[in-house]
């Protein structure tokens, strides 16, 4: 288990499930502050696992710098084309329904699951 924790958020990687879970509200001030999270995502990607899951079901808020960070990761995944990326989203969190579909435009084989 790897964990990145801040005032209002937690990002946890469970290697057994190949799942990174995001919780809370992420409103960091620009890309440099998101770098540790992006590095974690890219590290896991470089393991070339068959699937890799991003669980966002408890991520209540993500600012545009955070959306930019996720996009960078997805574009990087598109270059590797090894792992199947799954994003678990919540239909009850408005921003997810509005903005996550854009990631699919960057990577059409991205599996976006709403519950």
């Amino acid at each position: 288990m790897t964990e990145i924790k801040g005032e209002n958020y937690t990002v946890i990687y469970d290697s057994n499930l190949a799942t990174i879970s995001f919780q809370g509200s992420l409103r960091l001030g620009g890309m440099s502050e998101y770098q540790p999270i992006l590095d974690l995502l890219n590290d896991i990607l470089s393991k070339n696992l068959p699937t890799m899951t991003l669980d966002l079901q408890e991520l209540d808020f993500l600012n545009s710098s955070g959306i930019s960070m996720l996009s960078k990761f997805i574009i990087n995944a598109r270059k590797h084309q090894v792992s199947q990326i799954i994003i678990k989203a919540s239909a009850n969190i408005p921003w997810q329904g509005k903005s996550l579909k854009n990631l699919q435009r960057l990577l059409p084989i991205l599996q976006l699951e709403f519950s």
Binding site: E7, N8, S25, R27, G29, G30, M31, S32, Y34, F61, N63, S64, S65, I67, S68, M69, S71, K72, I75, N76, N92, I93, P94, W95, K98, S99, N102, R105, L106
Partner: protein, 196 residues
């Protein structure tokens, strides 16, 4: 000089509901008040829910309230982050955030933020807005994301504004003004309108 670009309402009716927040950049450095952006955005979003009550007879009213809350907290946070980021630190001109509720046939929520800008940022921002209003926002959004992925340290510029247009159906406008202060200051007001 006053210059208006995009969809900007210069006269807002005085009798409607409004809320104004002011941030004096001289009291605490901008960097140390970043967390206030989120606090203010959540507060304003929560405050507005009073005007979108949940009714037991109307099952869509709960959904509507959640949509309003989500949209306002995202947009308010982005506007405040931009204002804090691009505010000209050499001026002591305060950052002003305002939210107005216009009730007509549709309900319109108007969010605006005013901050001072230095000459370089003014030029860059002005050019960016010109590019934005002359492009297809959907294509421009993807273009900005792709561009940012090539540069390790940058985040996609204008992504917050583009997300408001594409994902929240917002109308955006800007007002640039030279303020009549002893030292010459240029301010920019960004206005975002969403229909509920």
């Amino acid at each position: 000089m006053t210059k208006i670009i995009g969809e900007f309402k210069t006269e807002l009716p005085k009798e409607q509901e409004f809320l104004v927040l002011g941030f004096s950049p001289t009291s605490i450095p901008i960097q140390q008040r970043w967390r206030n952006n989120g606090l203010s955005a959540d507060f304003v979003a929560d405050y507005l829910t009073t005007f979108f009550p949940i009714s037991d007879d109307n099952p869509t009213s709960k959904l509507r309230q959640e949509e309003v809350k989500g949209a306002v907290s995202f947009i308010a946070n982005e506007l405040l982050e931009n204002a804090m980021k691009f505010h000209d630190n050499s001026s002591d001109y305060p950052i002003k955030f305002e939210i107005n509720l216009l009730e007509g046939e549709d309900v319109t929520v108007i969010l605006q933020v005013t901050n001072s800008v230095n000459f370089d940022d003014f030029q860059k921002f002005y050019d960016f807005i010109q590019e934005l209003i002359n492009s297809d926002p959907d294509d421009f959004y993807i273009h900005q994301l792709e561009k940012s992925s090539e540069d390790e340290n940058s985040s996609a510029s204008g992504l917050g504004l583009l997300t408001m247009i594409n994902d929240y159906g917002a109308k955006l406008g800007w007002k640039f003004e030279n303020q009549e202060t002893p030292v010459k200051i240029t301010t920019v007001t960004t206005m975002v309108q969403i229909s509920i």
